[in-house]
Point group: C2
Chain length 279, copies 2
């Protein structure tokens, strides 16, 4: 059947431009930002990230098509989204579930308080839909690396991650005169596969999804259902240099060609209930 | 509550090593491979990818911790996984569903033939579990960019994507004397979010998931449920330079620190039914 294949396409032998990463060069670079200290409630995160940009070899000069990826954990910490478990009274359902699965009832209670809907509650896992519209194991409530020095503190999601991203973007623009894209990333599990990947929970300065529907593919056919989740892939690329234990909570991604425009994870990426086959 | 936070951690002010990307440097680089021609059934894909590695600025010398990402489409084409729709007789169910949702009944038939289980069949979408164990919209059956010059051909998944990855890895090692990791990537939708991301459907030369359970986090607590889906994040990072229309079907990812060892997507990443809350 391959006899009908066209030959090699025109342009295939053109080399990518040598030199640094950038749109169209076929090169992507990710820099883990260096020297971000342990973040405390009330810290000026944008200033600390800006300092880290200056400290990181190769990160400056910033470009408008760079994307700064900041992990949820330090955004939540700077915004003071801590909950002191010693003040939490778990409901009976939380006590029963925690006892059955060997969990902390106060943590289960905090998770249930994040929920506008419980999606699944089984195998010791509580998957909820948060008021942001995210569907998350444990409602995004974070008990590891909270850095409060005790087992009695957990960390919630930022109040409005898109707004958090916009604030960081504006502060970075004020300081450097260039406004990169910003992604707030978080580690999410998924159905059907083991493992977590980092995805975008907030975005500023570019459209998180690139909608190619109606554009022609390389055969000239119209692609009917192709929406590239660019912000999510940027978050995943950043995680590869950040890891989980390396104390590197932010990265700069260069060369990803983020779709120009403005957008929001809440408005552009989260699927409305009526289209969701996995409620 | 932040008063209990420890100060900046030791080592935070250490700069990453300047120079090229590599494990521990906090740098990731992705190179789109240049000059891979339109692939036909029976092509020696490993040789064409090797030629492209030689053609791509900065890709050589290869390193054992590099990961070569090859998109499913060219693997399937080289393996001849085409189906001629003109020879397909759709079952009545496929005819009815196609008619209701404006689809090609023969394509729906091919999708149903990939299924060991239909997961969801609604909104014009058919989500099936394939015999590999993947849960995929349209069973991974691909009608865009098939490159056969007509609308009557579709492309199936590789027969055994882990084996495809191993074959490419062995051929690359023979030619270059270095065995990088290999990922076969495909674009997958997901519940709850619009957009597709590239994930790994086959892997060779490293463990696709890094299991951090039982290791201590930066606070010294034991992380109980953290498995990093490294192969999937590598596939997503590669997609950022490959895109959908650019005729770039392979990339080299440097600096991702793929977990050493051997592994398989089918055995290590796909979730067995009894643990899956979203059957």
């Amino acid at each position: 059947m391959s006899s009908a294949d066209p030959g090699p396409a025109r342009g295939e032998s053109v080399r990518p431009a040598p030199g640094p990463a950038g749109p169209g060069t076929g090169r992507l670079e990710v820099f883990a930002l260096d020297g971000i200290p342990e973040i405390r409630s009330g810290d000026d995160l944008a200033t600390l990230v800006g300092d880290a940009l200056e400290r990181t070899d190769g990160a400056l000069p910033l470009r408008g098509d760079d994307v700064l990826v900041v992990t949820q954990k330090i955004v939540s910490k700077a915004e003071g989204a801590f909950v002191d478990l010693s003040a939490v009274q778990p409901r009976l359902e939380a006590v029963a579930y925690a006892s059955r699965w060997g969990r902390d009832a106060r943590q289960v209670e905090v998770v249930l308080r994040q929920a506008v809907r419980v999606v699944r509650m089984d195998n010791g896992v509580v998957i909820v839909e948060t008021r942001h519209g995210f569907i998350l194991a444990n409602g995004g409530v974070d008990a590891s690396n909270v850095g409060a020095g005790s087992g009695d503190t957990v960390l919630l999601l930022p109040d409005d991650p898109d707004a958090s991203a916009r604030r960081i973007r504006e502060a970075v623009e004020q300081r450097f005169g260039v406004a990169p894209g910003v992604v707030i990333s978080d580690s999410l599990g998924r159905p059907w596969r083991f493992g977590i990947t980092d995805l975008a929970i907030g975005v500023a300065g570019f459209r998180p999804n690139e909608d190619l529907r109606g554009t022609a593919d390389a055969d000239g056919r119209v692609m009917s259902a192709t929406i590239r989740a660019v912000a999510d892939e940027i978050a995943s690329a950043a995680e590869l240099v950040l890891g989980k234990t390396a104390r590197r909570p932010a990265a700069l991604v260069r060369g990803a060609s983020p779709p120009p425009g403005e957008g929001s994870i809440a408005a552009d990426v989260l699927m409305p209930a009526e289209l969701d086959l996995f409620r």
